[in-house]
Amino acid sequence: MDTYPFFKWCDETSLAHAIRGNTWAFPLIETIHILALTVLLGGILLMDLRMLGIGIRRIPVARMQNQLASYINVSLVVGIVTGFLLFISEALKAYDNQAFRPKITLLAMATIFHYTAHSKATSSATPGGPGWAKIAAVVSIVLWFGVGAAGRAIGFV
């Protein structure tokens, strides 16, 4: 399926023009994107460290989920919204960027995993999570750090 027309269309929207036309827009949106990813990645990392029994050992996994869920959900939404704005303002560059598609693929995988298997593990009644919690934690860390690394790579490739 040829996605080029979609990327071109995005690049030519008035929203894209508006962001490109304002010197402060892109840096500000990007800084918010980075703050969102810090909260998102950080929150998920804390849950995963707990599931691995590293550092946090006394707070039950379900309690962590309960306290962190809103922060993770909101920062994910903010990250996606700001990410989308960053994308449309440079959609044609993104089309040619080797790290962009891997990032989106990893983001989709990480998000789906987070709200399915990972969520099942963190709602466990067992304080440390189910037996397979450690596996879920490692998968989660690998996927989300993959998103982060691919995202950073966008600037380098």
């Binding site: 800084t31 980075i34 810090t38 950080g42 804390l46 550092g55 006394r58 309690r63 982060g148 950073r152």
Partner: protein, 163 residues
């Protein structure tokens, strides 16, 4: 020898030059500095929100401190090591960057806030950790922490893109 001369000498050293000119190592170090942010700052945010009385309301403050802050220390070590390497490789540009100077000032202020908190109100944490709402000095420490570390992140981002 001026500070600028010192920065020039630092970045002329072998390892600094190698890092600056590397294809792979520099992105890895810089990427680790960014991703290490999450490791360092998430536990801090959790503890600050507890100090503000917004989260972890069932747990005594010392429990949140003891469970989360050791992770911050590991993250902090990663940030200091990667940050030092990054500075070393680009010392002159950092010296000349207003954004970087602001970042250094924010880092110093954030560290002072940490020192003040841990040497005063934190010493007496067992006296107030179950109080609701938390004492105003605890709330102030939490609020200042969030503000100052956010300032460091903002200044850091602007430094990176203007170096």
């Amino acid at each position: 020898m001026s500070l600028l001369d010192i920065c020039q000498s630092l970045q002329d050293m072998g390892p600094a030059t190698a890092l600056r000119e590397s294809q792979f190592m520099f992105p890895v170090i810089e990427g680790s500095h960014l991703l290490g942010l999450a490791l360092m700052m998430a536990p801090v945010l959790m503890f600050d929100l507890r100090l503000l009385g917004l989260l972890w309301k069932k747990e005594p403050a010392s429990e949140i401190r003891n469970q989360f802050l050791p992770i911050t220390i590991s993250g902090g070590v990663l940030m200091v090591v990667t940050g030092t390497l990054l500075f070393w490789s680009e010392a002159v540009k950092c010296y000349n960057s207003t954004y970087f100077r602001v970042k250094v000032i924010m880092l110093i202020l954030a560290t002072i806030n940490v020192i003040i908190f841990h040497s005063t109100i934190d010493r007496r944490i067992n006296e107030w950790e179950n109080d609701w709402p938390p004492p105003s000095r605890a709330k102030l420490a939490g609020a200042m922490s969030i503000l100052l570390w956010t300032g460091v992140i903002f200044a850091g981002r602007y430094t990176a893109y203007n170096l």
